[in-house]
């Protein structure tokens, strides 16, 4: 079994794994980081989005061995202790979640959106950018609101953060 090494939420990890292990399985089953969810098997729902080397990826569509040597950020690494990241805070303030299952993927996608497009995001842009994330509870209305508010709050926030969550 091949060994993989990566840094997950700032912590170096190494494990011997079956080569077909998906990154999401590695995170959930080997590291017990169960905040990253699996909502489909065709890489369309986006519940499993994490950041690999600073970019959003669907961790169900990537082998763990492909992330060898990478910096991985999951939802568990976004807050600083009990202090929420402004994007997490925005989801809570704007009722951007109901059952919470799609939420980790939505937040990780939102952070990537801000990284690529900046802090001023209009409704249309956010909706188009959420093409790869499904939610069955909220009708997306408050998710869109949350992301716009979270993006604005990030611009005003000067807390130093882990690279991938900036």
């Amino acid at each position: 079994m091949p060994a993989v090494s990566m840094t997950v939420n700032g912590t170096p990890v190494t494990a011997d794994i079956d080569p077909r292990t998906l990154l999401v399985q590695f995170l959930r089953e080997h590291l017990r980081l169960t905040g990253t969810h699996v909502g489909c098997d065709t890489s369309q729902c986006g519940a499993c989005v994490v950041h690999v080397n600073g970019e959003a990826v669907k961790s169900c569509a990537m082998l763990a061995v492909q992330a060898d040597g990478a910096e991985v950020l999951t939802i568990e690494g976004v807050a600083q202790g009990d202090t929420l990241h402004p994007m997490q805070e925005a989801f809570r303030d704007n009722h951007g979640l109901q059952c919470g299952f799609c939420t980790p993927g939505m937040i990780m996608t939102a952070l990537d959106m801000v990284r690529r497009l900046g802090p001023v995001l209009d409704d249309h842009t956010i909706r188009e950018e959420l093409e790869g994330n499904l939610c069955r509870c909220t009708g997306y209305h408050n998710i869109v609101k949350s992301i716009a508010a979270g993006a604005r709050a990030m611009a005003a926030d000067d807390t130093p953060r882990r690279a991938a969550a900036e």
Binding site: L33, T34, H37, C45, T74, R92, G100, E131, C135, G139
Partner: protein, 788 residues
């Protein structure tokens, strides 16, 4: 109104764990020594099982056991059941066929579990399952409910000739015929209410554990109603006595009805855990969910509405065929009957109604309650009829509705329901104003200038929620009572635990229920914990569905709080050496009327437990009260949704450009959460109308079995939604709540289709109005015009 009391948009207490990835869903649970379960599922819609070749698979790495229907049958466990007994019009009971968790000799739908493989690791179980081959003898199948009763249709169950489960009716046929006989005009329509696949984002999962020393089972399950699951699994299936089965529904990632039911997979997990003496875990893959979770809707209907010369409704006739799939799921029989035909009066004063419903078996996934459950189907019938009638009569659809509204309450309909309160004109007026209904003709002209077809449609829906008065549903065939339970445990330090039989899987009960307690006891919301979803903690409960948790679940809490307050006043009286009758409780303080004596709720809580100020002969120590609340009537949320669409005739694409919802949910505990419920429901409703096609081919294969093919609503499909409320408090429960969870899914499909048909100028299009369907209609029109 306090910042955390009733009526405040309090941020949700549960959100911290969800936004930090610390929710605990069933699939997140790992028990020491757990094995993994994977199912071999039927690849045929209808076939005889000739032979199962599992020898090689059982010797593969990690495989612990391979279990078949024969093994299951040897366990002498009972069949899965449908818990609501419907009688046909001839008095005979519904034809419920046996539903073993694993079949012995025949499969009846694609996706039916056939063989269970248990292995050390999930991938090993799956590998072994793929190595199992099954010899089948294919049988002819039927998937279309309209064809299921044909004399030459294949017979799916011996107990149900012509695949007919029941032929049921409601209303007065003679009065309805008489109304039609004197009608000035009749509107007739044929409707298909399309089959839907629920698709909660969390797939179903189960972790089952058996402790041989105590003969105790524990099941962690994605359930909306863990107590009902325990009851069915013990009383009907007999897996364990009720007191030796603990069912825990931890964080559950959406339900929409699909997680109410008792399915084969969790039963097999329990049985397997005992068989292999290991904890057994099953997590559904999404591809399995498409063919294993109960589907929704699937009605074929002919409906006729009779009017007098002034446009007043005289009568309604409805004939529906409802597809219940290959087996009768847990509550399937009630959906197209008592949750459907009883709402056919809509918001209107209709003197005579007659409805006939045939329920049929087909070789498809079982169909059961899905968000709205029967009420979206009823609303679609009534509101499509109203819109089509208005067009036919040449009157404004809003005005035709207004003319026929029920205006006096209580109002007894001809189909059981007694509407207790409402103001339908108020929600209509507010919706028309918010949607700028008056400005529509100008917007239509402007759109035409851009080459777009613009349409507007209304849906003035009603639903029956707060399900339900036990005596009433018992008389209609329900196998259970539909009350709710609550227990309020006050701790010596004055903090409170509320135990509820309701279950939260997105609805935010941990917040709204705490708001009620904060409001009543005057204590901070952070000092209140809401406990739910564990049969070892909560004594009994009926769970969450049918928009019942506010109206019924919170009413039970309110009743328990009444008792807590009564007991606390006794303690306060002893503390302040006053008469109990003089104690006043307000804003978290007990005072003696006419004096400045006061004690806080916390002091009373402490003294209730230290019991130093009263003798055991006078008063029991402690402060803990329970209540069962059984509603006296259904509740009747109602409102008006307005949809405006624009169609691109070149591509057939329909864009929802405006959507306005005005709902009367009675009193609202947390407006932010209520709006969120409405948003979600509307998008599911628009999904049904424009996107979500569940397609079976002639051979019974599900063609739309993944997100590649089943068109889920996405963020880019919608404009911002305009959501508002009107309020007539519900007189039938102590909090005046009606329920809000299903309104969007109930109202939206008719509003959308009324708008689409308005834009197209034809009624001849079925849901979902996909770009292909719309384009096809437009091409047909163009050909017809060219021919003329």
């Amino acid at each position: 109104m306090s910042a955390t009391g009733i009526g405040a948009s309090v941020r949700r207490k549960e959100d911290f764990r969800f936004v930090t990835g610390r929710g605990q869903y069933t699939a997140d649970i790992a028990r020491p020594g757990q094995a993994h379960l994977y199912f071999v599922r039927s690849t045929h819609a209808h076939a005889k099982i000739l032979r199962i070749h599992a020898g090689h698979a059982s010797r593969m790495p990690g495989v612990i056991a391979v279990l078949t229907g024969e093994d299951f049958a040897a366990g002498k466990l009972g069949s899965l059941v449908c818990g609501w007994l419907i009688h046909s019009k001839d008095g005979t009971p519904m034809k419920m066929a046996p539903h073993p968790a694993l079949p012995v000799d025949r499969v009846r739908h694609v996706g039916e579990p056939v063989v269970a493989v248990i292995a050390e690791r999930a991938d090993q179980a799956r590998d072994a399952a793929e190595a199992i081959s099954i010899d089948y003898e294919e049988l002819p199948s039927v998937v279309d409910p309209a064809k299921a009763q044909a004399p030459d249709a294949p017979q799916i169950h011996e107990v149900a000739p012509n695949n007919t489960i029941y032929q049921w009716q409601l209303g007065d046929p003679a009065a309805t015929e008489a109304a039609f006989a004197r009608a000035a005009s009749v509107t007739a329509i044929d409707l298909v209410n399309n089959r839907l696949i629920p698709n909660a984002m969390e797939t179903r999962a189960a972790v089952a554990e058996y402790e041989p020393g105590t003969e105790q089972f524990t099941l962690w399950n994605t359930s909306q109603n863990p107590h009902v699951a325990r009851l069915v699994l013990s009383a009907f299936v007999g897996i364990a006595p009720e007191h030796r089965l603990r069912v825990i529904a931890p964080d559950v990632g959406g339900g929409f009805g699909s997680k109410i039911f008792i399915y084969p997979e969790e039963l097999v997990a329990l049985w397997a855990a005992k068989t292999v003496r290991r904890p057994v875990k099953w997590t559904s893959e999404r591809s399995e969910a498409f063919v294993a979770d109960a589907h929704g809707r699937d009605h074929v209907t002919r409906a006729e509405l009779a009017f007098d010369a002034e446009g007043k409704i005289l009568g309604l006739k409805v004939k529906t065929i409802a597809n219940l799939g290959a087996f009768m799921s847990t509550f399937s029989s009630s959906v197209p009957t008592y949750l459907y035909a009883t709402l056919l009066s809509g918001q209107y004063d209709i003197p005579a109604i007659f409805c006939e419903v045939d329920a049929v078996y087909t070789n498809t996934v079982p169909v059961d309650a899905y968000r709205g459950a029967g009420r979206p189907e009823a609303t679609f019938v009534v509101e499509r009829l109203m819109e089509v009638s208005a067009r036919r009569l040449g009157v404004d659809p809003a005005e035709l509705r207004r003319k026929n509204f029920v205006k006096n309450f209580p109002h007894q309909t001809p189909v059981i329901m007694n509407y207790d309160a409402g103001d339908y004109a108020a929600s209509l007026d507010k919706a028309l104003a918010l949607a700028d209904y008056a400005g529509f003709p100008q917007r239509k002209r402007e759109a035409a200038g851009r080459g777009k077809l613009r349409g507007i449609g209304l849906s003035a829906y009603i639903e029956a929620c707060g399900i339900a008065p036990s005596q009433a549903v018992g008389s209609l065939g329900a196998g259970v009572g539909l009350w709710e339970s609550a227990e309020v445990r006050v701790n010596p330090t004055g903090t409170v635990e509320v135990l509820t039989g309701s279950h939260s899987h997105g609805q935010g009960h941990e917040t709204t229920f705490a708001q009620l307690v904060s409001h009543r006891l005057g204590i901070p919301i952070d000092n209140i914990a809401v406990v739910h979803g564990d049969t070892d903690k909560v004594q009994f409960g009926m769970g969450t569905y049918g928009s019942r948790s506010g109206a019924v679940g919170m009413s039970a809490i309110s009743k328990a709080l009444d008792k807590v307050e009564t007991k606390a006043k006794k303690v306060a009286a002893h503390l302040m050496e006053a008469s109990e009758a003089d104690i006043v409780f307000e804003d978290g303080k007990f005072t003696v009327a006419g004096t400045d004596k006061a004690v806080t709720f916390g002091e009373v809580a402490l003294n209730a437990y230290i019991a130093h100020k009263f003798s055991g002969a006078e008063l029991e120590p402690g402060l803990k009260e329970g209540a069962f609340y059984d509603p006296v009537n259904f509740t009747f949320p109602a409102g008006c949704h307005v949809c405006e669409v624009e169609i691109d005739p070149e591509t057939g694409r329909t864009d929802v450009v405006n959507f306005t919802a005005v709902d009367d949910f009675g009193n609202v505990i947390n407006p932010m959460i209520v709006e969120g419920q409405v948003h979600g429901g509307i998008v599911q409703g628009i999904g049904q109308a424009l996107m979500e096609a569940c397609v079976y081919d002639e051979s019974g294969q599900l063609v739309t079995g993944s997100y590649n093919d089943y068109r889920m609503p996405r963020a880019g499909d919608f404009p911002p939604l305009v959501v508002d409320t009107t309020v007539t408090p519900c007189p039938s429960n102590p909090l005046g709540i009606k329920g809000c969870g299903e309104a969007g899914a109930i109202a939206a499909p008719a509003a959308v289709m009324n708008a689409v048909t308005d834009a197209l100028g034809t009624e001849d299009i079925a849901m979902p109005a996909t770009p292909l369907a719309v384009w096809t209609v437009l091409q047909r029109q163009a050909h017809r015009e060219a021919a003329e």
